[in-house]
């Protein structure tokens, strides 16, 4: 990692080497951690994951094909993209998976496969280059996944934007949560995930219960 966590930050959780599921695992759910290159997806996943960071190599040309079509696997020249993921076992038998999902339009087929059955997406935005997140916001909205936006706190991020300006620049709906986070910090990353999950709970609640 390029930055050491500051002394006030919570340390990243110490991941275990064994990847096998705990016997208590009952409900397995996933959240996408989406955003453009270099925005902090891997950093956030690593800071909260209980397993050492893992990834799969996904052949791009094949991602949308039928499962019995292994042409893309046999063809060594197929471009692949690494999709990293992490895991958090929560009390109560829930295991939460986080999938770092590249946000470019050309990854759409892969995106759809990863997004299948997801609870929602946490969209990371670098406020120094907001427009880099337009593609990913388009993909999330088209896939119908509920989402929250987390501005990753890079030290030289412009501070003159108001929340309203950022919301307008991203063209977010009024109800979409917007938080800031430091992806290197476990607690801060958990807070961003909580903002998303609370949003999922609120939007499912019947109108009269809000």
């Amino acid at each position: 990692m390029a930055f050491a966590p500051s002394s006030t930050s919570s340390a990243p959780r110490t991941p275990t080497g064994d990847v096998h599921l705990p016997d208590t695992a009952r409900d397995l759910v996933k959240i996408l951690v989406a955003g453009p290159f270099g925005v902090g997806k891997t950093t956030l996943i690593d800071s909260v994951s209980e397993i050492r960071p893992l990834h799969t190599e996904e052949p791009l040309s094949e991602a949308s094909a039928q499962v019995d079509d292994l042409a893309g696997v046999r063809d060594k020249s197929t471009t692949t993209v690494a999709v990293d993921f992490g895991r958090i076992s929560l009390p109560g038998g829930v295991v939460l998976y986080l999938f770092g999902t590249p946000g470019q339009e050309r990854f759409r087929a892969l995106w759809d496969d990863i997004a299948y059955g997801a609870l929602g997406a946490l969209v990371l935005v670098d406020s120094r280059r907001i427009d880099a997140s337009f593609d990913v916001l388009g993909l999330v909205e088209e896939s119908g996944l509920p989402y929250a936006v987390a501005f990753n706190a890079f030290p030289d991020a412009p501070r003159h934007h108001t929340r309203e300006q950022l919301r307008a620049a991203l063209d977010l709906e009024a109800g979409t949560p917007m938080v800031t986070c430091d992806a290197r910090d476990a607690d801060s990353s958990v807070d961003a995930l909580l903002a998303l999950v609370q949003h999922l709970i609120d939007r499912n609640a019947p109108e009269d219960a809000r």
Binding site: V29, V67, L90, V197
Partner: protein
């Protein structure tokens, strides 16, 4: 586990399905849970199937975890696992019940679990 740790795939990707055609069982999701049945493997099982069985010896894995450990694409694991399921060597179960992701109780358990993490 006998998996190599030196960064090379256990099985070359182009050999990995051993000519298996298509999974005959229901769709395997990235988070479908694979568990070995501990039935002795028949002789002549292709190397890739054996590697997957071997990985399941020590406990259950999701499809995506098996893909990461064996350094194979998720699509290849889907094919291998489907074959092993057909041979009753592996059981698969869905990550959550259908429509479970809209279950308010499940979402509440996720939120409570995340809050609890912060106090460790």
């Amino acid at each position: 586990m006998t998996g190599r740790r030196d960064g090379r795939p256990l099985v070359p990707a182009y050999l990995s399905t051993g000519g298996v055609a298509r999974p005959s069982r229901s769709h395997l999701e990235r988070l479908s849970v694979l568990t070995g049945t501990r039935t002795p493997a028949p002789a002549g099982l292709p190397a890739a199937q054996l590697a997957l069985l071997d990985a399941l010896d020590e406990g259950s894995l999701t499809v995506v975890e098996a893909a990461a450990l064996l350094r194979l694409p998720v699509s290849a694991i889907r094919v291998l696992a489907a074959d092993l399921i057909d041979r009753d060597l592996v059981l698969a179960r869905a990550p959550i019940p259908p429509a479970g992701r809209f279950d308010p109780d499940l979402l509440k358990r996720v939120a409570d679990g995340l809050r609890a993490l912060k106090h460790i």
